[in-house]
């Protein structure tokens, strides 16, 4: 059967199209990736690259009366995109869950956290309110909320940012989902709290054998926790591979740009940070060729000028490491080694 061969989460050619006043916008265009249980996929990209929309499309949080979601998103062999709204709703919070960027605004300000967590239990499990409360206490304890018996009756504004994100994690994991999507879960938190939250997600991931999709723009986080990385740009995946492939054998100039715009403490830097020049493309008017071409420092090396006119296909360069680029293998190798050695401290 097909089903047995499929990865736990297999996204195939997922696209999301929004109508706007300026015409239809292709926010996500043919995105494919997969994650196994217990593994972490990091989706990396700038704001507007389509990473959050991808996550929301998988979760069924895109209003399909207004937008067009196409492609496939197989979760344990069942296609989430083909499901009715009500069927996806039953999966949300039970077999898949999501945590968000800002834990303050993501919790309802008027309800006690106990009530908000119990609600998640009661909607998916046939248990009494008392049993739900027991589960909530247990879960709050697990995510490291001190004195959960008191805290359960707190309102969100009475908790610190880190505590609120712990509550969000508790809410997401309370029905032991097999898939957790974390949309920049640490961006709004202090640096010290960030690592605690990531550690917590890692621990619980092992405990529940959860597949994690981590959406982030922070490559430091990616290096810490990801098994696989998908780099998104202009609504497409432009490069994906294992974390080692992305960090040590990057192919696509955009990935290189991301790597060189991050400060690294583990290496002595000779030069200042290199931000990628320009801004991400507007999804309303994407360049006709490679979407990264206007910002790419190397596109003039492609003699055919294909970068300006032809969308590069996603090419597998071996072992599941894929990328979109018109540069040939030698050129890419040369550019990558130049950039990486510059990063490592000014020339080999």
């Amino acid at each position: 059967m097909m089903r047995a061969a499929r990865p736990f989460l297999a996204v195939e050619g997922l696209s999301v199209e929004f109508p706007t006043e300026d015409g239809r916008v292709q926010a996500v265009d043919g995105v494919s990736f997969s994650v196994e249980r217990g593994k972490t996929l990091a989706i990396v990209g700038e704001s507007g690259s389509g990473k959050s929309v991808t996550a929301q499309a998988i979760m069924g949080l895109i209003d399909r009366r207004l937008s067009v979601v196409s492609g496939r998103a197989w979760l344990e062999g069942r296609d989430l995109v083909a499901m009715s709204d009500d069927e996806v709703r039953h999966e949300r919070g039970s077999s898949m869950a999501m945590i968000f960027q800002d834990p303050m605004s993501s919790l309802h300000p008027f309800y006690r956290i106990g009530a908000q967590l119990s609600e998640a239990v009661l909607v998916h499990q046939k248990v009494s309110k008392q049993e739900a409360r027991e589960q909530v206490l247990e879960m709050l304890n697990r995510v490291g909320i001190p004195d959960p018996k008191t805290r359960i009756d707190d309102y969100p504004h009475q908790l610190s940012g880190g505590m609120r994100q712990r509550v969000m994690i508790a809410m997401a994991l309370i029905n032991s989902p097999a898939l957790l999507i974390a949309d920049e879960p640490t961006t709004a938190l202090d640096v010290t709290v960030q690592s605690q939250i990531l550690e917590l997600i890692g621990t619980l991931q092992q405990e529940y054998d959860t597949a994690v999709v981590m959406i982030t723009h922070d490559l430091g986080i990616v290096a810490d926790i990801a098994d696989h990385v998908a780099v998104m740009y202009g609504g497409r995946i432009v490069e994906s591979g294992t974390v080692d492939e992305i960090f040590y054998e990057p192919q696509m100039p955009y990935t290189l740009g991301l790597l060189s715009s991050v400060p690294r403490l583990d290496q002595v830097r000779a030069e200042r940070l290199d931000p990628i020049p320009g801004n991400p493309p507007s999804p309303i008017s994407l360049p006709p060729g490679c979407v990264f071409q206007p910002r790419c420092a190397y596109s003039d090396r492609v003699t055919s000028h294909a970068c300006e006119t032809v969308r590069p296909e996603l090419v597998d360069i071996g072992g599941g490491h894929t990328m979109r680029c018109h540069l040939d293998a030698d050129q890419r190798g040369q550019i990558a080694s130049d950039v990486l050695s510059a990063l490592a401290g000014g020339g080999a």
Partner: protein, 330 residues
Amino acid sequence: MSAYVVRRILSMVLLLVLLSLVVFILFSLLPADPARLTCGKGCTPSVLEANRIKLGLDLPVIQQYWEFVKGLFVGRTYAANSPDPVQCSAPCLGYSFKRGEEVFVLIKDRLPATIWLAFGAFVLWLAAGISLGIYSALRRGRWQDRSVMGFALVGYSLPSFFIGLVAIFFIIIRWQLLPFPSYISPFENPVQFLQTMILPWIILATLYAAFYMRLTRNQMLEVLGDDYIRTARAKGLPERTVIRKHALRAGLTPIVTAAGLDLAGLLGGAIITESIFSLPGVGSLAVNSVNDADLPLIVGITLVAATFIIIANLIVDLLYAVIDPRVRLT
């Protein structure tokens, strides 16, 4: 909480004192002469002057104000030294010589009609405004939304004296669906009461309902875009629960404030609606008192109306603290 309430009540009293002082001074500056009202057709300058002294109108404004405040608590006797003194028992809001009646009594007699009108319209406009506002928000951009908002725009733009008169002309005069309005207490004749009130309720509520439709719709649209609504959906809650439990709770909070203050404003008299339907309420009394330049009555009505608003402010603030746990009353 209780310390807060005590403090708020104290500041409320202070506000009322200031307000009454301002009203009092303002009206004493008007060119109209209250003494003239006490003096009939055969008025001579000497009688007028005598009356002025009897009424204490020769005193400085501040002293007159003091007499007024004292009267509120212990009552007051006008023209005490004359053969026919006028008694005004506490709480004395003044005495209308034009009408030969205590201001307090005049207002008290008119309050029931105003209160019935205000509360009836209040219930109608909240029911219509909030439900249609929510409906509109949930169908944003579609024809249902556009029709509701179009209706709101019409209701908002048409002056109530216009739709009131049109309604009287067609429903009462042309089609004779209802008898001519004649106010009676609901305890005496509930049927006649309803027949009289139904049109004023609808006319008054239309204006407010239109405003509340827009307010509710905007509130709901804002809240529906909030992050915690996305969280509620991510939990797998049915859309019905997301709307009723999560969105409404947050979206309707500001409407409580608006509703409390609007209701209080109407308790001071719905001048236009009361006048069109000749309801014996505070609003039509206010119009009459202005027409007659009946200064003591105008001052009394102004103060009573202001008091309603000040009390409503306190109640709304307290309610807000009950609804929104983030609000701390300190």
